[in-house]
Symmetry: C2
Subunit: 357 residues, 2 copies
Amino acid sequence: MTTYQLEVIENTAKKDKPAQDQIPFGQTFTDHMYIMEYQTDKGWHEPKIVPYGPISLDPAAMIFHYGQTVFEGMKAYHTEDGRVLLFRPEKNFERLNLSSERLSIPPIDEDLALEHLKQLIKLEKDWVPKTPGTSLYIRPYIISTDANLAVGPSSTYKYMVILSPVGSYFPGGLQPVVIHVEDKFTRAVKGGTGMAKTAGNYSSGYQAQANAKKEGNADVLWLDGVEKRYIEEVGSMNIFFKIDGEVFTPELNGSILKGITRMSIIELLNSWGIPVTEKRMAIDELYEAYQAGKVEEVFGTGTAAVISPVGELNWQGQKMIINNHEIGELSQKLYDTITGIQTGKVEDTLDWTVEIN
Amino acid sequence: MTTYQLEVIENTAKKDKPAQDQIPFGQTFTDHMYIMEYQTDKGWHEPKIVPYGPISLDPAAMIFHYGQTVFEGMKAYHTEDGRVLLFRPEKNFERLNLSSERLSIPPIDEDLALEHLKQLIKLEKDWVPKTPGTSLYIRPYIISTDANLAVGPSSTYKYMVILSPVGSYFPGGLQPVVIHVEDKFTRAVKGGTGMAKTAGNYSSGYQAQANAKKEGNADVLWLDGVEKRYIEEVGSMNIFFKIDGEVFTPELNGSILKGITRMSIIELLNSWGIPVTEKRMAIDELYEAYQAGKVEEVFGTGTAAVISPVGELNWQGQKMIINNHEIGELSQKLYDTITGIQTGKVEDTLDWTVEIN
């Protein structure tokens, strides 16, 4: 690990903490944030924890013009016995560097990033909410900051971490959602940036999502950009299917995000003796299986919701009602187990959690 | 036109202007910038010209996370008789709104934007360089500013314009460039954001461009994202071919940017009685035409270089040497005519220029 002196400037004007039961996602931030700077000749340097507050950038800063940026999303959980746990954070920093590689951003030291994240969360421990279903959302991100309109990689960057307490994703318990299968707009394509967590992948979906919502859908299921036939992800989550007793998920093909919840579900199911088949999955074949009465459960997986059961898929005017709009047994068991491990209620036999001491 | 009171706060600490012959692209900015704010309940409001300087944003501002942003690029030129001309600026604002539509950003009033741009440039008239080949580069852009990590359109935006004096793109006159035909990475695909000028489209090309440069190429020619067969654009320019006496350019298919120089070249050639065929163009068919000795000229078109002759195309290990690495007659004539119109040396029979009074 590269050694750096972490400077901590404590916030003397602490904010009031929000009520824990109904915190809207991603709008409340803690008292501190983390910043580390990059410069070609110095590398990553000057790591600091400072009071949360506005950052000042030149209007020509590259982030505003050419989108050279990557991010991560993870959570810290309070256990009933007062500990604070992270869930596989090393996987997030690994993926951050993979995203950075695709966007020509210099890698960060993953061990250092985790060490400094722990220090930040330790300082903000009181911000980790305790009500069931709540957590502290963690957003690490890197932005390109050269004041330069020439198209090309920046020579300066800021790596930052901000923290946001978040309420339960499904306040009344898991809720199956209605999903539109998108066959006009494209999220990503082979050779593009689909496997990277980078800003441009998200806003490019807004138009499709708005159209889907107008028709009563909660989100969209993206198909591949080439044939508009193969299933990729739902919204910003990965997707799983239980068909005729077997579990399937689209294989990582370069345009699908390598979800950490996705990976954990595959490992967990394997540990239960349930194999998961990762393969190219055609939407028309799914529809055939549906018509044959074989589609038993469908669920999205991601950091925000952990498991999001899908109750209905709308594809080219055809409706697939999944498990009578009810939560499947497997979906519920996976949700209970993963959230249980995350919050210390279920034994962490797979060694996934990292405690903040 | 909606009426707004434009507030002007003059910069009292004016900067020195750079020497005009060797200004690097996009690194020097003028004394003032333009900002207009958007808020859902107010619409676009508070247009202001203020001293050029840093902007302050919440670290959770959506621009840093989800890439909801669009931009434009255009230029102002000094004529020999001391006038300042814009080149088809109304087309840029039209395209800005098209880009915004794709990115779910509220449209701006195009007439108002042009009127305010004129006032900004009038104030910065001394910053428009006079040396042949130089100009004042204009960068209008919109960024999403809600401090909110929920994925979705922002409710607040900033529309800004910054200005940068730029030197001659080819200081020694036009220079044919060597281009790599990219068959691994993808810039854009049908249903994606390729037709929009949005940040994510640019940084997604850095890795391919870096690989191409390592092998001695100046830039890449993008192929379609589906078959990796059909020609799209070169770098961030459109591309034209003169084959066996005829002029061709890839048709606008939803993943190619609708270039204003591209449009102007088609109109100019038509006005000369030279038809331009817009069609889907396969790289293997281009190679066949090359082997038959029929590829006479290739050139990129864009605001930065106007015309960029291509001297060599490298595709899957095969070299296509175009016109013996020399500037084609048509490329030179188009360059001379368009830059002539832009700088008032050639009569503007097509009514393209807009004078700043």
